[in-house]
């Protein structure tokens, strides 16, 4: 049982990291109705910025973290201004494919900079406690993961506040439903898009840090980790912030349970679940949830009326 709880904790922490990535996807989707394929690249870019300032430029880590996060937000904004702004009113699939182009641009420069060796981000999380972990009773916790959990919590709180208090929350939603009507309400669609990409960039960088910080290194393949948050977004519902969080926790726990128990399950049932089953398991959960609730757990249901 202790073991199970430990695994569960790991899953939650993993889920917290995913939720940061997932929120980035969701914010952009909420405003633009587009699933941005550039989001993973932005996450890696954020990590790259932080890494550059903290290690190569030799700036204090915490300052680098802040600069990196805001710079990534700015890149998000820049992408929106230069590329996506041109696509207001165009079919969402063309826009989605454009984000593939953006992904290529970002990663070309980033990969060139990252180079062949894995890079550490210059944080000191691993120097706390026992290689960056501490235990309470029988349970082991990691500082970085706990920080991730905490940051995710704060970010969610802030976002929630933002969407509740500011009129932009609703405006974002409206924009994604119908740009023309949103314009007619006096909503500055361009500003909403810009805002979404800016926040998307911030979130990406934070997420990028959490999954490349500590021992986790930034490599040319780091962006792939961000793709693992995709089922979380789907499970939770593409346009739902609470959904992104719950979805992330579900897949975090699923992945962690599948990872720890794969061999026991295989032995017990005498089956072969295959290589890397733990990273596929979230998709299996996703299948079932979509079949029961096609719009995801918390997604906005499409209204079909004639």
């Amino acid at each position: 049982m202790t073991f199970f709880i430990q695994v569960f904790i790991e899953g939650i922490a993993l889920g917290a990291v995913y939720s940061l990535v997932a929120l980035g996807f969701v914010i952009i989707f909420k405003a633009t109705d587009v699933l941005s394929f550039a989001q993973p690249a932005l996450a890696a870019l954020g990590a790259g910025f932080i890494c550059y300032f903290a290690t190569e430029a030799g700036i204090n880590f915490w300052l680098s973290l802040l600069i990196g996060i805001f710079l990534t937000g700015a890149v998000g904004l820049l992408i929106e201004r230069t590329v996506l702004r041109q696509m207001v009113g165009e079919p969402v699939f063309s826009v989605a494919v454009i984000t593939i182009g953006v992904d290529i641009l970002i990663r070309t420069f980033l990969d060139d900079w990252i180079g062949d060796e894995p890079r550490f981000l210059g944080d000191s999380f691993t120097s706390y406690g026992n290689f960056g972990s501490f235990s309470i009773g029988e349970f082991n916790f990691k500082y970085l993961e706990m920080a991730g959990l905490f940051v995710a919590f704060i970010v969610i709180l802030l976002l929630n506040l933002f969407f509740k208090k500011s009129r932009y929350g609703l405006a974002m939603l409206a924009t994604s439903f119908d740009q023309e009507t949103a314009l007619a309400q006096g909503i500055n669609v361009g500003r909403v898009f810009g805002l979404a990409w800016f926040i998307g960039g911030l979130l990406a960088a934070i997420a990028g840090f959490v999954f490349t910080g500590g021992f986790n290194t930034l490599t040319q393949l780091s962006f792939v980790l961000a793709l693992r948050a995709l089922p979380a977004v789907v499970i939770g519902g593409l346009d739902s912030i609470p959904g992104a969080i719950i979805g992330s926790l579900i897949i975090g726990v699923t992945q962690s349970l599948a990872g720890y128990y794969q061999y026991s399950i295989e032995e017990y049932f005498d089956i072969n679940l295959g290589l890397g089953f733990s990273t596929v398991a979230p998709y299996i959960i996703m299948f079932f949830i979509l079949l029961v609730k096609p719009e995801g757990l918390f997604g906005t249901k499409e209204v079909e009326r004639v």
Binding site: D111, N130, T219, Q255, G276
Partner: protein, 433 residues
């Protein structure tokens, strides 16, 4: 048949000893060799080619944008630096060597073939064809063209003509031999009693080969393999791997993974208070782990970590290494990546084959292929002396341990180790995995 080969060897050795007297005209050539001199600069790299001599062109099929993109640049630097040096020191007979623009194939077979097709009529040999599966996929084409190629892999299959048609150059040991030697060496040299082990490996030519070697040694030495975590490339799940180390403790484990995953794995296990003996395959380790400021420096230097290397890394103590380091330092190259060594070393082998064919006055690709079937390699001590093309393995690994104070980040513990398992193994049976 054996005798025949020996004869050829002698013949070649003889020709090698005689002074180079052949003129350009007397050498037969077909593809990728010109009487015009090599360009002075290719991309950003000077070739140092003698403008009075002809040119042999080599091709590179590499990966800059795919999963092995990390290796692309250092290996290219190694290759080009070698030839720049070679050209500077007199070229090969009447020919200098130029490596054409490297083609990026992104570890995609389709691109690989595409890029190969684009260059097949313009090169005399491939200085690099990155990736085991990719190279295997284009092998029939290479065979048609008599195209010699160096891979960036130490797959045990390359040692067998049945697999590589004698076209793929082997240099260093193989992952399989490294696996065997890794376990043997740990058992015999470390003060820890190793009874159970774990394996963490990428499921591909590299990981499986290493795992196969470890398992062979384990069976031979009566060590229990408690678990084996295989994952598809790109799908490494650190939670699961650490979970195994924590929940099913072993005395030692053998990772054949990528360095990014390695840092997470070692770090993650340490966070749970688990630091077993770790015997890594070469590509798992990166010198970045032990540079000043790395969060895993202390961990990797703690004495629990070892590398069973296919050849001596950047800091190797042979004259060949020394020479290489000097030349690279002179060219302002800062990286001490093991892939630079790989690039350099592979070209020593190609160079030997080319030299032999020039001496044999047949610089056609068929001629190069014939020469490569049996030629001693001069590696300036970087490798145990060997003859190219013979169907034998050299199961000699270099045992190292991380040490940030040395170039490349490793200290050599044994520069030519072959354990009892490797010694007794029947290397003629075919690939390990």
């Amino acid at each position: 048949e054996e005798e025949a080969t020996e004869e050829v060897v002698e013949e070649v050795v003889e020709t090698l000893d005689s002074p180079a007297v052949t003129t350009a005209k007397s050498v037969n050539t077909d593809f990728g060799v010109t009487e015009e001199p090599c360009p002075e600069v290719i991309g950003e790299f000077p070739t140092n080619a003698d403008q009075a001599k002809g040119c042999i062109y080599l091709g590179i099929l590499s990966d800059y944008t795919g999963p092995y993109g990390a290796a692309g640049l250092p290996v290219e630097v190694g290759i080009r630096s070698y030839w720049a040096w070679k050209n500077l020191t007199g070229c090969l007979g009447d020919y200098c060597v130029a490596v054409r623009e490297a083609a990026d194939t992104g570890y995609n077979p389709q691109k690989h073939l595409e890029e190969y097709n684009a260059m097949r009529n313009d090169v005399a040999a491939l200085a690099l064809s990155l990736g085991t599966p990719l190279t295997l996929f284009i092998l029939d084409e290479l065979d048609k063209d008599n195209m010699l190629a160096a891979p960036l892999s130490w797959y045990s299959g390359w040692s067998f003509d049945a697999v590589d048609k004698g076209l793929i150059i082997e240099y260093g040991s193989t992952y399989c031999a490294d696996g065997m030697n890794g376990l043997d060496w740990s058992l015999d040299n470390l003060p820890v009693d190793i009874k159970t082990i774990g394996i963490v490996a990428q499921q591909d030519d590299y990981g499986l080969d290493y795992a196969a070697g470890v398992k062979t040694a384990a069976a031979a030495r009566g060590v229990e393999v408690a678990w084996e975590y295989l994952y598809a490339p790109g799908q490494f799940d650190v939670t699961q791997a650490v979970g195994l180390l924590v929940t099913k403790p072993v005395d030692a484990y053998f990772p054949a993974i990528d360095p990014g995953s390695m840092a997470q794995l070692a770090g993650g296990a340490a966070q749970n208070g688990v630091v077993p003996i770790t015997m890594m395959a070469t590509p798992s380790f990166s010198g970045q782990f032990v540079v000043e400021g790395s969060p895993v420096k202390d961990l990797f230097e703690s004495g629990a970590f070892y590398i069973s290397s296919v050849f001596a890394p950047y800091g190797g103590e042979t004259p060949g290494h020394e020479n290489m380091r000097n030349i690279l330092a002179g060219a302002g190259v800062e990286s001490t990546s093991v892939y630079i060594v790989a690039g350099w070393a592979s070209q020593q082998h190609i160079s030997s084959a080319l030299e032999a064919s020039i001496k044999g006055t047949d610089l056609t690709r068929a001629g190069i292929r014939r020469a490569a079937a049996n030629v001693p390699v001069s590696s300036d001590g970087m490798f145990p002396s060997k003859t190219l093309g013979a169907n034998v393995q050299t199961p000699v690994s270099v045992m190292t341990t991380p040490n940030g104070a040395l170039p490349g980040g490793t200290a050599i513990l044994n520069s030519g180790y072959t354990g009892p398992t490797g010694e007794g193994y029947d290397w003629s049976g075919g690939p390990c995995s």
